[in-house]
């Protein structure tokens, strides 16, 4: 099962998760350029491209890198079918036949991919991936790579930010399938939200593909579909330990509701509860007595939903089962969760049911970073958050602007100039390092030319801002981590890093986030993490800049 654990099985890397991922999944201009390279005899020139982004999303100062495994699977299977070739012939009718013969031949056996490990905390300008190979082939990879990394990194980062604001102890559930960009958008969302620190998803297909824990109970429609307790025909329920059978669970529930209504400590908090809701809860408990979690806001949370839930839970308790909890999907979640908690505690005390007060409360109505933060400030009793729309659509910022820039061709460094300094790319085939300080925090990322000596533990090194002459600092790293590792070396599997299962990437992500200095992570005015270049690379960038700028426009 390559799909469910993501590991490389000997030489073979499985098909991409999404079988629609074909080499045609690219922009037309990659083919017109490939043709122009081919016509000019340049198509085999060895090119180096960097894939990077320019700004952290969501007003934060960090990003999580996601999508690497999908990129590697893509190139491992990069080969045109005859049907794809014929389609391209029809789209580019003036191109010579020799070009299509060339396309028939190509694969990624001459391509190398160096990348930061998936699930790492990453920063602007530092290449997430460095892709080397024949210029025409690597150019064809641009669009799919950027497509596969952009949303993956964005939504992983969004998930990590939700985890940060919710805190470590809360359960985070991804409920976004219905709001994602189509089926595969939903599957990607579930995969990368889990990677970013969520605990479970509602998406069954994603659960199967990636081994993500699944969660879910019932909807309002389920509650509305019942009219009364009379509808329940089979009323028997075996006790949890199998030692006895209750012949009329419905009466047991009604009996507990009566006891509650008569209890001094609960008197006056509710009157007659909604009977179709009670029927729905009772039916659900009869079907899934070990997983009784009820949506309590179809009619009125405190006057109907919570009392009905407690009656069913107490009946279950009498048979040795333990109810799971409630879900709130509307209203004032802070207030309702606190009121529900009080009610559960009152039940615990009134009927002497240990732990009943600790019943799980899940909240799930249009939640996002801001609403969770607001709930935290108000005080609440929510244990689990079910988050959908704002998480999977990355509503607060729906795109990460990853780019794919040529930095070297035929051993000649290239740089993309722009009047906007933030858009200037850093030339050369580079190595990238993360330097750690005495307290174990990462201090700075540094890019160097390929052939420079690597920074060494304990040795002072000058780190320069790539474009601002006055910004520079000497750093003595206590630890040096090389960021770009080989994930694809043509056909050879020997030199390659493993592709770990999603679960392991999730662990890496959580661990890396914990390692960050807190001021980079805070939601309000976080401190930017510094990204630098070596002194030699700095000088070279500025030498090239002068030479590439058009005459009369030395910037």
């Amino acid at each position: 099962m390559t799909d469910s654990n993501g590991s490389i099985d000997g030489e073979a890397i499985g098909r991409p998760t999404n079988p629609m991922v074909s080499p045609l999944l690219t922009d037309l201009y990659q083919f017109t350029m490939a043709y122009a390279y081919w016509k000019a005899g340049k198509h085999q020139e060895r090119a180096v491209f960097d894939l990077f982004f320019r700004r952290n999303p969501f007003g934060g100062e960090y990003t999580i890198f996601g999508g690497l495994e999908e990129c590697i699977r893509f190139i491992a299977n990069f080969k045109f079918t005859e049907e794809e070739i014929s389609f391209l012939c029809s789209v580019m009718p003036t191109c010579e036949d020799g070009f299509f013969d060339y396309l028939r031949e190509i694969d990624c056996s001459d391509v190398e991919v160096y990348a930061i490990s998936e699930g790492s905390v990453v920063f602007p300008k530092v290449p997430l991936m460095r892709i080397e190979g024949p210029v025409a082939v690597v150019q064809l990879l641009e669009t799919p790579f950027v497509n596969l990394v952009n949303y993956a990194s964005l939504v992983t980062t969004n998930a990590a930010r939700h985890r940060f604001v919710a805190g470590k102890t809360k359960h985070l559930l991804e409920f976004g399938l219905r709001r994602a960009q189509g089926p595969d958008g939903g599957i990607s969302a579930s995969r990368y939200c889990y990677m970013g620190g969520f605990d479970a998803t509602s998406n069954v297909a994603a659960g199967r593909l990636f081994g993500i824990p699944l969660r879910g109970t019932h909807s309002h429609a389920f509650v509305s579909s019942f009219m009364s307790l009379d509808e329940i025909v089979n009323k028997t329920l075996r006790s949890y330990d199998g030692s006895s059978t209750c012949d009329d669970f419905v009466s047991l529930v009604e009996c507990w509701l009566n006891k509650m209504q008569r209890a001094d400590s609960l008197r006056g908090t509710f009157g007659d509860t909604n009977q179709s809701e009670l029927a729905a809860f009772t039916s659900y408990a009869l079907a899934l007595p070990n997983n009784f979690l009820a949506l309590v806001d179809t009619y009125d949370v405190m006057r109907s939903g919570v009392p009905n839930f407690c009656a069913v839970s107490l009946a279950l308790n009498e048979l040795g089962y333990r109810a799971m909890g409630i879900r709130l999907d509307s209203g004032d979640l802070a207030y309702l969760s606190i009121e529900a908690r009080k009610f559960f505690c009152a039940i615990e005390k009134e009927f002497d049911i240990p732990e009943f007060g600790k019943m799980n409360i899940t909240a799930s109505n249009d939640l996002n970073e801001e609403t969770i933060d607001a709930l935290n400030k108000q005080g609440h009793e929510v244990d689990s958050f079910g988050i959908g729309t704002y998480l999977v659509t990355c509503y607060a910022q729906a795109a990460l602007g990853c780019v794919f820039k040529l930095v070297e061709i035929n051993n000649q460094p290239r740089m993309k100039l722009s009047e906007d300094v933030s858009k200037v790319s850093i030339p050369c085939k580079k190595r990238c390092f993360r330097l750690y300080g005495r307290e174990g925090y990462p201090l700075v990322d540094i890019m160097t030319g390929e052939n420079e000596p690597a920074p060494r533990m304990g040795d002072r090194i000058l780190c320069r801002h790539p474009f601002n002459e006055s910004k520079r600092a000497y750093v003595v790293p206590q630890r040096v981590e090389e960021l770009l590792k080989c994930y694809w070396a043509g056909g050879s599997a020997n030199k390659r890093e493993d592709l770990p299962p999603v679960k392991d990437i999730r662990e890496r992500c959580i661990q890396q986030l914990e390692q960050m200095r807190p001021d980079h992570m805070r939601r309000l005015n976080p401190t930017p993490y510094k990204v630098s270049v070596s002194a030699r690379l700095y000088d070279f960038i500025h030498f090239l800049w002068l030479n590439e700028a058009p005459v009369g426009e030395l910037q």
Copy 2:
């Protein structure tokens, strides 16, 4: 090729476009509910669900319905595989075997789907689809249907809004693949942007699947990959009519550049142009002389890119070819397009090249509704807009809140109450009509009970706001259109509407938008289009509301 034209071939409807679309593509709670229905013996009860949305997106007053064909393909292929069943067994270990036998059996032969035609202009509260069938089966369809309709309708609407602001005469190109939510997000984006009125896409895979015209030229990397004209080895180019061959196209280009530099009318506008750019343009023209469209902003638009482009175009012109135009991807697009246009006109005059001044100008830098509107207000000379990020991510509003609500079960009308009136659903199995006025504009949509007489042309009918007693109006329709048509009648193909190809849906969409009264369409403070219920349905809703509300809370 069912995929490319979307038509039904006799009885058979092809597989969904995306093979990942399996019956597992749903929320877990649909299965836990299905199990609870099954345990309660309710799973066969006939239920009616409405799929609708509550608010138009993007601050507008209309939405375009997309995603219907994908829903119909989904149900046409709705069947669990043994592998899927085993996965479900592992996820729901306490469920009885009989339930999985039931799942093995089910398909959608007992389901009926009535829907508004895809590509129609639609409004809040009116069901886009009405789905009837055994409650457990239809419940399993909720998540995939909402998933397939939500993003499709949202991005189609976004595309239509971009078309509206750009105007009918501009060419609109969708360039969003790299910013979409993964591969399938990109493919959906291309499909539905075309449906909403775009002219072409850069996405080759979408072009193949749906027959969408493809567009694309080259990137900055292509320009940066060249160093000088010396790199160009094969310099020969046959003339357009094949009658002659130019042995040194490079010299011809240089010769034209010289002529331009010496021309009185152009003197002083540019000096030495960038030679790697000139080499890139020349190479591109040698490869694709019929499709020469150059990206002119790698170095400096007016001092290098446009003059280099014109030199190559004039050389092509001498051989009988006609250049396509330029693309601007940065800077002040209004200003640059106007300057480029002046330059083209000067070339037309100076060298007497008819139509040269009409050269196509494409703009493509982070465009959206607002920036196009701003360009229009400033004045510009752009002919084509290439739009990516803001279009496909629906950045301005990343989600449409489609819902799927139970409105009837076992012939009993059901309604979802809420303290928030906008969230109350309209009960009953309904029919929906669009009433047209004298000028041909749609006046109002009206929902009626299933068995009420349909509104008739020329007959006065009372249209009531569903929840606001004081809002009511008599309407005498000049034309009545029934909105919900049968798109799936179990196994029978006889009663079904056709699923037209994407191109035809696009035509319907454009035509429907043109038919709308202009005040509903304007960007600033558009007039809401009215959605109403019949007097009988109004009375029934309010009767039910009183009866369903919990005691002590008559709302």
